[in-house]
């Protein structure tokens, strides 16, 4: 069954179709949330909340062809809510202390720290662009900002990440 057909079925309350959509998007959304929040348990919560909102709100979606953008927007909004609620928490503390057993592997710590050094908007744009492979236009729709802003966020972020991750990196030219 094509995705659009599945989504139409979900709209009618078909739980099997919903399970297929969950199967298709779940891991991708989980890692996106994890890349933004750097908290494995919170990422699981955010991911679950996102799907519940999709299930209850899909009836109101008119254009299902933009489902990918819509679900990512919900996820990103949930991540931003997480930041608001976690005002007093040091985001990524578990990464630094290595207390998050499900977090980045020791080999990925440098990547985690580099991503964490970006502000949350730039971090979100980076994850959506390079992990999920969304277009600038799609990210602009997800983040609710002009495409120029997304491009500029990505340029600056890439520069920062290069500085942090490519120190001592030898090109094999």
């Amino acid at each position: 069954m094509e995705e659009l057909e599945l989504l139409e079925a979900v709209k009618k309350g078909d739980r099997e179709a919903f399970a297929k959509i969950v199967e298709k998007y779940h891991d991708r959304l989980y890692f996106t949330a994890f890349g933004i929040t750097h908290s494995s348990w919170d990422a699981l919560d955010i991911c679950q909340e996102t799907f519940i909102k999709v299930f209850t709100g899909i009836k109101r979606v008119k254009d299902l062809s933009r489902f990918g953008t819509w679900i990512n927007r919900i996820l990103v909004n949930k991540c931003m809510d997480y930041y608001r609620k976690s005002k007093n928490l040091v985001i990524g503390e578990a990464v630094e202390k290595g207390t998050d057993e499900m977090g980045f592997s020791p080999e990925g710590i440098d990547l985690a720290r580099a991503i964490l050094s970006l502000n949350k908007e730039a971090r979100t744009a980076v994850i959506l662009r390079y992990y999920q492979g969304l277009s600038i236009k799609e990210i602009s729709a997800v983040q609710g900002c002009p495409e120029g802003t997304v491009k500029s966020r990505l340029n600056n972020a890439l520069k920062e990440l290069r500085k942090k991750l490519c120190k001592g990196y030898e090109m094999e030219v």
Binding site: D27, Y30, F51, M102, F104, L111, Y130, V173
Partner: protein, 273 residues
Amino acid sequence: MSCRRFRDMIEAYIMGEISPSERELFERHMENCDSCMRELQESGYVIERIRNMEDWVNIGKEVLAMSKKEIGKRAVKRKWVPGKLFPAMAACFCMTVAVLACSILAFPSFAASIAPRFPLVKSMVEAREENDQLKQQVEEIEKENEVLKLEIKKIKDVEIVQVNTSDTVSEEERYTIQALVIDFVRAQYRGDVEWIRNACTQEFAKHAEELVKDKKGEVVFTQITNVAKEGDLYLVFVRLNDTSSEDDADYQENFELVKENGKFLVSFVGLDA
């Protein structure tokens, strides 16, 4: 095209978003420019690491599978509409109860008119009626107290509380009548039938023997009313205690007298508890 222009294209090139013609120009420049090539490789390295982020994260497949299962369960719960409505229904119910309770407490009359059989309303109405009755009784007692002015009076050798209920008789007549009544009671306890007979009207004198008291205790006068006059009758009540051990030791005698030829005579004596 300058290096800057090609560097701006690096991200789009890696993401596969430039046209074939631009791609050819871009690749040619990279082959001839080491610094641009370095930036391309570094950017490619960063983007590749993020793209493969899953490889750098420790999370078991079973955790992800569990999460998917949990979503399914929660979605089923969401479908159950009554469950969703329950908090709202509970809130409405609590609000109604609260409003009703406040109305009953604040406006019992209103509550009595809309829900007279409601147990709480019923008991409140009863309590209010009881309260009204008590209020009325208190008012009556207060009125009586205003009328009843008590004073200690010495009548012959007796000091007695006089209850002033009327002022229709002159003080001289009042004293005469009260003294007569006290002597009358003493005669009753003495068993002096003759004295009693002389103090009564001719008609009532026939009952003189019946008026004698068998009790032998000492009589203590506790209260006497001042004398009221109704028509030809003079009324006076005397309260006494004969100090006997009987239950009716403390009682009241109600006297009615008439004035015949300037002399007061007892025309009737009745007992009161």
